[in-house]
């Protein structure tokens, strides 16, 4: 475990060094992130022009949810997405060989090798939005609520990682190199509370695409509406899905033939 932490720390340092080489990229992603956020806020501004409440959510509460979405998206884009989006290349070009040779679990290396520190800024902006909107939404900052919100969010992120990684194992067999974009595209739905969607879809947005765990439940936790069973279901589900993803990875690796051999 300590070994893995040490390796991860090295990866962080390496990506920070790389980051310092591309300062323009930092500004670009900052500007893009801000613009995306502004557009999302304006979209809600338009929706709440006609009403004070949609499906039980006020505009202030929606802004808290949007802030949490931004926070989650920033963390995912910093730690998870850059790795998931290169799995197909690793397989197609056979570069996976070099990772398999290292004396460390291959799933760990494949999943954590690239870090994009500049995306952390987007996460911080999301956090800022949560803090700004919390008085509008009537958030009471209680320790229990906060802890529940964080646990929900982490299980949501882990679930997203697991389903994404799981879907990526199919890349050993299929040809479409951009199929790794399907999961993040569907995850856009997390910008809205699950109660905005038809009942049938809500189940999918809770247990398959973990939009509910990543954004809806954490926001509700901050408002003091915690469904306690869900907290434990989330933890159990995240652990189960992580194990499943590991199992599928080991199975898929047996079908890995490398490139040009």
């Amino acid at each position: 475990m300590l070994y893995y932490l040490r390796v991860w720390w090295r990866l962080v340092l390496m990506s920070l060094i790389r980051e310092a080489e591309y300062r323009l990229n930092f500004l670009l992603s900052l500007g893009e992130g801000m613009l995306q956020l502004i557009i999302a806020v304006l979209t809600f501004e338009i929706l709440y022009r006609f009403t004070d409440e949609v499906a039980g959510w006020t505009q202030g509460q929606m802004l808290v949810l949007l802030g949490i979405y931004r926070l989650v998206e920033g963390l995912v884009n910093m730690l998870i997405a850059p790795n998931q989006l290169t799995v197909s290349q690793l397989i197609r070009r056979g570069d996976l060989d070099f990772l398999l040779l290292r004396p460390i679990a291959s799933q760990f290396l494949v999943s954590t090798r690239i870090i994009r520190p500049h995306e952390g800024v987007n996460a911080l902006i999301g956090l800022g939005l949560v803090l700004y909107a919390s008085p509008l939404a009537g958030v009471q900052w209680q320790f229990g609520n906060l802890v529940a919100a964080i646990i929900f969010m982490i299980s949501g992120i882990l679930l997203l990682y697991a389903i994404w990684f799981l879907s990526n194992t199919a890349l050993f067999w299929t040809q479409a190199r951009n199929q790794d974009q399907i999961i993040p595209t569907l995850f856009q739905a997390a910008r809205y509370p699950v109660s905005f969607f038809p009942r049938m879809l809500r189940i999918g947005l809770t247990f398959v695409i973990p939009a509910a765990f990543a954004t809806t439940f954490p926001s509700q936790a901050l408002f003091g509406q915690i469904t306690w069973p869900m907290l434990f279901i989330g933890i159990a589900l995240a652990l189960g899905m992580l194990l499943l993803s590991a199992g599928c990875w080991v199975f898929a690796l047996r079908h890995y033939t490398s490139a040009s051999s």
Partner: protein
């Protein structure tokens, strides 16, 4: 440059795109997801009895057709053109008897031709779900107007990107500019929310800004939301933008080429 040359270019792009069938399938799937999410959100508000400028049928028609119109009017040449200029790849094109814009146009049309048969069945499935509320114009004149303003919308979007990408003759990195324009432009083109739902005091601005004529206008024509005068003004503005951008492109391109120093040459 004659039509036979262009036909060859088009065939080439068709073949290249066909190699990426799997990717096209995923792209088209991703294209459909956003409008469906937005539609479901607005229908939730609609079902709650909130007074909205659009009724259920209009929301369904708008968002079901949105993906198709988005695809048919989209451009992706801005960043590519800027990189060709910045890295000097443009030199290889300049020595051939085909103008750069012809390559980009062939690529644009070729990809769209391949994408359409992948996109239509997906939109068809969504349309089946909402078939009770989907309203298509019954008048053939509406279809005719739509058939005219759709390629013009694609033209406005295409030329806008040509002008923006050509700025790479003067600015080192226009990628940031192109991406900002893509985001803000999508919002102002009605990609996320129909322009009719924006605050009424913005309607004057929304009507004259160019992005409306890259996407929203053909959709408005198709959903039959416009009065005859609005139609007339819309067409007038769309044609003006098309001519204006063509003029701007011609000037920017010509002046830019003179300044082009071909990196690596």
């Amino acid at each position: 440059m004659n039509l036979r040359v262009f036909w060859r270019l088009l065939l080439y792009d068709l073949q290249v795109t066909l190699e990426y069938r799997g990717e096209v399938l995923v792209w088209m799937f991703n294209l459909v997801v956003g409008p469906v999410i937005a539609l479901l959100v607005w229908l939730t508000a609609n079902q709650q009895g909130i007074e909205l400028p659009y009724n259920r049928q209009q929301f369904v028609t708008y968002y079901v057709l949105l993906a198709i119109i988005t695809m048919l009017t989209s451009t992706w040449l801005g960043e590519f053109l800027a990189e060709e200029i910045r890295l000097g790849g443009l030199s290889h094109r300049l020595i051939r008897p085909v103008p750069m814009i012809a390559y980009l146009l062939a690529n644009n049309l070729g990809e769209k031709l391949i994408k359409l048969p992948y996109l239509l069945p997906m939109v068809g499935v969504i349309a089946l779900f909402f078939r009770d509320d989907l309203r298509m114009p019954e008048d053939w004149q509406d279809w005719l107007l739509f058939a005219i303003c759709l390629p013009m919308a694609a033209g406005v979007a295409f030329l806008l990107d040509m002008v923006l990408g050509s700025l790479a003759f003067w600015i080192d990195d226009v990628r940031a500019l192109v991406r900002m324009k893509d985001l803000a432009g999508a919002f102002l083109a009605g990609q996320f929310v129909p322009l009719a739902l924006f605050p009424p005091n913005l309607s004057g601005f929304l009507e004259v800004q160019p992005f409306r004529y890259t996407l929203s206008f053909p959709l408005e024509v198709l959903t039959g939301a416009l009065s005859p005068e609005q139609l007339q003004r819309g067409f007038l503005l769309q044609i003006s933008y098309l001519l204006l951008l063509w003029l701007l492109y011609s000037v920017v391109w010509r002046v830019g080429l003179r300044k082009f120093s071909a990196v690596g040459a």
